[in-house]
């Protein structure tokens, strides 16, 4: 698949608190040729991963509600570093805070083609012009 080819090698961060879902997202991304650089289940974990590996990240997939706490600090850290990301949430767009409501959002449950399409649209363009691209 050409899309998969194009996503190949994308270095992504996943923040998702539920183990089963995290495992699926991980597997789906790997199937798409992406590299899951980090898998965090909470905000401190996510922030730590950005701090560690931010320089090599092409993008992120963020669950909004992490067992009660919101993922927004992680989102802010990514915006600060110009790293594109998508939200994946059961709440859909309506459940996202107003200042993030324009961010690309995947409604759970989502299909592989949906995940692929939104990544192609959101993360790819940034990599092609970003200084860290070409990995």
């Amino acid at each position: 698949m050409t899309a998969s080819d194009s996503l190949s090698g994308l270095r992504l961060l996943v923040v998702e608190d539920e183990a089963l879902i995290a495992m699926m997202i991980h597997d789906q991304l790997v199937n798409l040729g992406c590299v899951v650089v980090g898998l965090a289940s909470n905000v401190p974990g996510g922030l730590a991963l950005i701090k560690d590996k931010g320089a090599t990240l092409d993008g992120a997939v963020l669950d909004v509600n992490l067992g009660g706490e919101k993922v927004y600090p992680v989102a802010e850290a990514l915006i600060e570093r110009d790293i594109p990301f998508i939200f994946a949430t059961g709440y859909g767009r309506a459940g996202i805070a107003a200042n993030f409501s324009r961010m690309p959002t995947l409604a759970k449950p989502f299909s592989v083609p949906e995940l692929e399409a939104i990544l192609a649209k959101t993360v790819l363009p940034a990599r092609s012009k970003g200084p860290t691209g070409g990995g």
């Binding site: 608190d17 539920e18 183990a19 089963l20 495992m23 059961g90 449950p109």
Partner: protein, 764 residues
Amino acid sequence: MTRAVLVVDDSLTVRMNLVEMLEAAGLPVVACATGAEAREALGQGRFALIILDVLLPDTDGIELLKEIRETRSTRDTAVMLLSTETEVRDRIRGLKTGADEYIGKPYEPSYVIARARELVGRGQAVAPPDAETVLVIDDSITFREALRETLEAAGYRVVAAETGEEGLRLAAHERPAALVVDGVLPGIDGATVIRRIRFDAALRRTPCLLLTASADGEAEVRALDAGADAFVRKADDVTVILAKFKAMLRSAGAQLGDQDTASVLGPKKILAVDDSETYLQSIGDALRAGSYDVVLARSGEEALELLAVQSVDCILLDLLMPGVGGLETCRRLKAVPVMRDIPVVMLTAVEDRETMIEGLGAGADDFISKSSDFSVLHARVIAQLRRKQFEDENRLIREQFLQKELEAAEAQAAIRLAHLRREVAARDQELETARAQAKLRLALDAAKMGEVIFDLAGGGMVHTPGFVALFGYPSERTLSPDDIQDRYHPDDRERIRTHQAEVMAGSNIRYEIEHRVIWPDGSMHWLSGRGELTGDRSGKKGEITAVYMDVTQRKLAEEHQKQLLDELNHRVKNTLATVQSMVFQTRRNAQTPDQFDSSFDARLRALAGVHDLLTQGSWEGTSLAAVISLTLAPHIAINDAGRKNILFGGPPVHVGPNAAITLAMAFHELATNACKYGALSNRRGRLSVRWAIDRTVVPMLVKLSWTERGGPTVEAPRRYGFGSRLIEQGLVHELGGEARLVFKPEGLWCQMRFPPSAKLGVAA
């Protein structure tokens, strides 16, 4: 058609005389000589009057009279009796039988004709006088001329006056048929003009129309008070005035007919009372010569008896008589109301002062000496008759005035009653309103609602105590608009202002708003207001009446409900994602479709089980023991050694909803493996699940061991399966810490160490 007069008399002279005179007076006559002839005539037709001689050759006149009164067709016909019998007794008998008149023979022909005319004309309407001259009194020349034009167009002759005084002079001179007078005049006013007209004997019957400023009840009373026959509003059209004027003349004409029956020129009857037959006859002759009918009585008793049935116009009474004397007779008849006004002239032989005083004291109207000439007597009688006439007229005037006053008083009373009723109704209404307001207030208080009225022009406001409470102020406080604005939630101020501006601009008459307020104690409350703009629609002068209530509870409930719905939606979506993941993982690891089916089915059941558990606890989490029990309870059995195959336990550990799902799925994988390959796959094996809290390390750890013994010899799996991954990666990902699976030959051993977190709670 004029009915004839029936004359019944056996004297040819009398018949001829009466026939001649009656016909000359324009009355047709039928004459009979006997009672039989009379009965025949009466059987054939109706008569306007029957003149009946009492002494007939074949019949007693009184008997015939009785028959006439008892016969239906003649019952109401006037009857005049003629008799030579001058006995008072006969006269009384005749009158009592129903005669309308009793005239003695020799009769005075002119009296008979005058009375006949009266009796024939009884009940016939008299034509109203010429109604051509109208007097208009008004100080406005414009109005005078307008009225003149209208009245002249209607065929009247109009004389006009500018003032009341001039009007009265003109009235005396012109004798107008009617008078129209303005209520408001320079000098004497309209009411006074009418009053003076009413006091003038010559003018008092002139119909008067009073022009008033208004047509209310008070104006009518004032007009009636003044004696006006009609009143009309000056502002009305002249045609309305004309119509009212004509109606007034019509009713005035009808009245005049009744009043004219008592004319001065009418026939008069005089009663003479004296014990001297000679003197009586002399008086009779003398007075008959003066066209009077004279009745003679020989004593006071006779006179009194007669007067009970016969009305007379004047009484001549001898002072000295046997039996009841003249003075006593006079006293008695003056004591009877209907006789009191009949003039009494005392006849006396002696003319001393004391007797005169005594006579006058008894009620006599005049005294005359028997020795006087009969011409003097005649003159005195005429004087008395005139006086009586005058008095009668005066009495009539007085009665009319009394009647008018009575009517005015009744009208006033009616108006006062109407006023009173209106007042009572108004008070009832007030009371009802107050009651309704009290009820409303109670309802508002019960609903914790407050009412407020904003005066847009003055900028002020009035409110109920309940309104004050809505803003967190003590309820006895009186609020200013600033007090209210201070309490608006900062985020809602702009919205409230915009809304108010719309209402003020008149683009909305009604408004509904919900906004937050911050009470002085710092707490936030939601208020809901509904109002309406009343009065000036432009909003600059009107007022806004509004009812507010505290809807904080409702708002919180709404928020809570929304949260619940969002949460439910999120949970469903997450659950679907979890199921999706299970499908994904199961497919990855299944070698055959059957294997996929059974594995997925078991995993879905495990997921459903933990959902049930969480639903029981309102999705606020559960205990670690409950999650483990859920997974292992179906497998508990007694093994061959006579002991329980599964033992588990540990201190209380709280598990959050997501962690519970992951843990339940992990234990499901372990239990499934144990049932297939491990300690639960035979009847000798034992499984022990123990956990404890290690508080010696920082951070403290929840340590759990899954230990299998007695099962078949364990071999490490060739593939890294879903269960292993879920435990070693998934659980650790979600809960932190570590988890390890060791496939020892004597049995599987799994060790987990998790730090406490929001998802995994332990008692401090």
